[in-house]
Symmetry: C2
Subunit: 206 residues, 2 copies
């Protein structure tokens, strides 16, 4: 009947909730799903590749992109800049591809302002206390950074009502959360407000 | 985190859109899904069993049920009465079971009034002209009844915007619609408004 343009899915939630692993699992199941790569001025971690995990750019390049309206949202964290390039997302949606992104909570809310049709999914750990464990386990932050992230996580939970869905990422059942996300991606396509009037008239008269 | 009480799913749409086959397919995939059996005063068709397809009741019994507030919705069609017993649905939802029902379009709208939380799914054939073929194929209506049903179907399409989802039942790919319905059943559980405030606070402080 209709497929219309693609849908934009925004997976967010506190740092340490497991966004990266989950979105990776989801992309394996849905190869047609496009992933919006963020731009950042921070240095790559050892396992990170440019253009895959992030676009690693200079401060000058980032500033130029931002000034030209090329970023859908951007923010500063720990002295580094992060942003979402607008171009790739808009082109993909127009071509009918679904796009997924995983910004911080503030970024997710900014995206919703720009794209009210975006589907916002808040990922929470099954227990808040697991956040600290996960952050410790990945060994990419200092103790001070971890303490700061946990404080931010508490703040971020206050915005949960602005999201469309909550998905719980249980530490011992990660596949379950991937399946839950898949169901949301599939079901959102059929929400009544996704159908423009003319598509309904087309069925009526066919 | 939460499971809360069960969810009520209402699959409706024009007669001949394939509701029966679809809901049957869905129940095979999700055995825990409870099915709300309607009561009717009409005579059983040869293949229909009491308590499975309908509760076949006398006009007097139907009237008593209706008068005692035992029906969630009811309607008259072709001189026969049809209604949805309230008791079984409410008990199942309270016990945490999801319930599915497949009333006529008017009935679906009546259910939404009684249960604003009900999820209304409008099933449409991929082509409206297939309705006539399907009605002819099942050989349970006279030509006059078929003409009447098609007229009703045109009317029913006008209420499509009051539903939550539209699912297209393509004649040559019935399994696709079953999967689409399954995704909706799964995804609805995670909609933000299904989470009461205290469940969110529980995560925050755990």
């Amino acid at each position: 009947m209709i497929t219309g343009p693609g849908l934009l899915f925004v997976v967010s939630g506190p740092s340490g909730a497991g966004k990266d692993t989950l979105v990776e699992g989801l992309r394996e199941h849905r190869p047609s799903l496009r992933y919006s790569v963020s731009a950042t001025t921070r240095a790559p971690r050892p396992e990170e590749r440019d253009g895959e995990h992030y676009f690693f750019v200079s401060s000058a390049d980032f500033e130029r992109l931002r000034r030209d309206g090329g970023l859908l949202e951007w923010r500063e964290y720990n002295g580094n800049l992060y942003g979402t390039p607008r171009d790739y997302i808009e082109r993909s949606l127009t071509e009918g591809y679904d796009v997924i992104m995983k910004p911080e909570v503030n970024g997710a809310l900014a995206v919703k302002v720009g794209y009210p049709d975006a589907v916002l999914i808040f990922l929470v750990p099954d227990r808040f206390s697991n956040l600290r464990e996960r952050l410790l386990a990945r060994r990419t932050e200092t103790n001070e950074e971890i303490a700061r992230r946990l404080e931010i996580a508490q703040q971020e939970m206050k915005f949960i009502r602005r999201f469309d869905y909550i998905v719980v990422n249980a530490q011992d059942r990660p596949q379950e959360a991937v399946r839950d996300l898949e169901a949301i991606l599939q079901a959102e396509r059929f929400r009544i407000h996704r159908y423009p009037d003319d598509s309904i008239r087309r069925v009526e008269s066919s």
